[in-house]
Amino acid sequence: MSQLVFDPSKVMSIDHTKRTEYLDGLEAIRAAHKVLKEIAYTPSLPDKGYTNRSLYVNVDTLEIKEKPVTQQMKDVFIGGRGFGLYHLWNAVKPTTRWNDPENEIIISPGPVSGMTQYAGTGKSLVVSLSPQTDIPIDSNVGGFYGPLLKFSGFDALELQGKSEKDIILFIDGQKGIIRIEEAPTDPVDSHVLAEILTHMYAENEADLPNISVVSTGAAAEHSLIGMLNFSFYDRRRKCVRFKQAGRGGIGTVFRNKRIRALVIRGPKVAGDMNHPADPETIAKTGIKYHKEIRENDPHQCMMRRNGTAHIVEIMDAYDLLPVHNFQFGSHPDVHKIDSSYWQQRCTQVTVDGCWYGCSMACAKGADGLTVQTGPYKGHLVSVDGPEYENAAGLGSNCGVFDPDYLLELNFYCDTYGICTITYGTLTAFVMECYQRGILNRERTGGLEMTWGNAKDDLEMMHQMARGEGFGKIAGMGVKKMKEYFIQQGWGDAQLINDIGMENKGLEYSQYMSKESLAQQGGYALTNKGPQHDEAWLIFMDMVNKQLPTFEDKAEALYYFPLFRTWFGLNGFCKLPWNDVVPANNSEQPEAHKVPEHVQNYVDLFSATTGIKISKEDLIMQSAKVYNFQRVFNIRMGKGLRLHDAAPYRSLGPVTKEEYESRAERYDQQIITEMGLDPAGNTTEEKMAMHRQWRTGRFSQLMDAVYTRRGWTLDGVPTLARLQELGLDAFPEVVEVVKQHL
């Protein structure tokens, strides 16, 4: 792995202000809007990070009301994901499913969110019951909606009910108006819709950055994998851009409620709108961090140049990049889609933070793509990213190494409103099923789902958006596809289950965990399902080798999920924590925790809220919410050991080709790890040895992690643990747990 050098002369010259415009129909669309309900309210700014008000909207009854944010909510749940889970718990019953009217979508920015002086401080958290997992899903998303919601007066927005007509919820935080409008003729797909709505609700050009739109697209209506696009206005590009609340199908819930869009018009942002307790500390910490980015990022991750795509080649070099549905960890064509390509292809003269003050600026964008297929064929568009997950998921995992196709897949995922990670993993599964004869042309209705066939891949996505053909089946996600294929008798059940990369109903994100026990747990022992944001340990484990022992791995699976949960309570982005580190970080004790940055977070929280906390308090704050979420899962019928099971593909080699492609490594492990002799055994026998060893090791890890987390061996938080966290103050929580002890 060599350190890439940035060469500005190689950056493609593409006009980043040029793209197809969609404003022609604006007036007609506006005229068709009908006000269903309008109320006046008094906007307010936060005090020490909290507005202390929460907004409830029922899209069926059109009820709009304010709820107070109580001291208990702040003490136990902090904000963001915590507030989302709290509201959701109160809204649903154990029998509630994603498409019941009582299911909610909650958006909450968290107390620190909206700070402008530190990198990664504009996030909001979206929580709902997932159509894929039937348990709460939470998604940490950028864009301006969350901060502008708070600066308009609300720490959280709860959306409940199901409308009969397509509606838009408009909050005007400048004028103090909340309005529900019927939106009968609005366009469906995000890149068109959000551009029109941003211009429709902005009063003039200077007002454009004060508007943010939450929307999804056509595929969210016909699949279970819909996501939400949170917009922000890009002043350099002069266009509306998006960050995605991707995982778990919240976009599908959104459309099931017949919400077309949420639009906010916030006040003009200034640097002190959170009214923090100690602005001086925030200013100093922020400036220190910006300097660190300036000095270190060019020699470390080059996030400002490449965004998260900087790790494509690193993952490939360490055999950790998912290739062909997580069968292999590297591919000779990866150089076509690695960061040396993306830093030429992405526009480099822009300011790519998804909120003000993000000096890490990973939200890169590739401009000037002419779309080749589908309803926007011939349009000139800008595509966000691609991020690592998209390059790996839509790219290498499906064998697609043509960057233009990769961008087009990324573009359509975004505008159709589907999660790129989910789409990548489910398509990789479809392609492997095709390779192994579980699927064929007849079963896919003519789609030739061979590795790297981006044309048919795109056609499957267009079908998903139209709600037709095999695309509709694929849109159910891996779990339901597995059940369907098995029920149709299309293949061996064990093979289908082994290669279908999902846990709890959610598709794996894009890291090969086979050789990283820590990441196996980091995926399967999560609350919401296998998404790396809870425990991205693969880099620490496999690249930096910071978790050498079994105990280190188990401890990491205690600490990091809690540490990372905390970002989502407060409205922080995770990337600025360790995608750049102080120059002397490696000399610090517990370097893998990046201690100086942890201290920054402690300071930023204390300086915002005026509540002095320590590093240990930070973990305690998360532990409350994390364990609450675990109990919530149990309440909804998941969240036990059996639901933390991992598909074997994530633990070890399922097929002969997989084994034989890395035979030397696997044979060696039989000697060193199992103390056996591989000589004279067939590949099948050696695979069986591995299976026994790997599943046994994973089970041991579960025991160790559960114990460390204060859970029973069935994965249930003990009463003692609940007491320690103060969760025994909620009798309903105790009740759920008692049934499983």
Binding site: P8, A283, K291, G357
Partner: protein, 140 residues
């Protein structure tokens, strides 16, 4: 573009002057009675000579400003529009010369406007305004 420069052959780094440049800048330009808030800072070295923190109007801060609050005016001088600024301080963090300033009492930062006031008050004639070509924006 108009650029403030210093000649350390002439500047005595405050040994035989009262930092008139800083004081005048603070009072006249930023309306504060505190030389630490001036857009230029002159530091003396113990061994003689000195070091100046001066904005050379390089434009790096313009490149990183997320709101386009920083723009060059007709003279090529980088000016801040406080109405647009969101106080993110990326300009401060990315200024290699450490010439973007912050006053704890203000939410928006401040910088040199190449106004020339300091030039006029320097008793040693060490400061001057020069006209230099505007550099191309850097990719940061």
């Amino acid at each position: 573009m108009r650029q403030l420069v210093i000649d350390f052959q002439k500047c005595d780094a405050g040994r035989n002057c009262d930092h008139e440049c800083e004081m005048e800048c603070a009072i006249k330009v930023f309306k504060v009675d505190d030389p630490a808030q001036a857009a230029l800072q002159i530091k003396a070295y113990e061994e003689g000579g000195g070091h100046a923190i001066l904005c050379d109007q390089c434009g790096d801060c313009v490149v990183v400003c997320p709101t386009e609050a920083l723009k060059r005016n007709k003279l090529g001088v980088v000016m801040i529009d406080k109405k647009i600024c969101v106080g993110c301080y990326m300009c401060i963090g990315f200024c290699e010369k450490e010439a973007f300033m912050r006053n704890s009492d203000w939410i928006t930062p401040h910088k040199c406007t190449s106004c020339g006031i300091c030039v006029k008050v320097c008793p040693h004639g060490a400061l001057s305004m020069v006209e230099v070509p505007e550099p191309a924006p850097r990719i940061l």
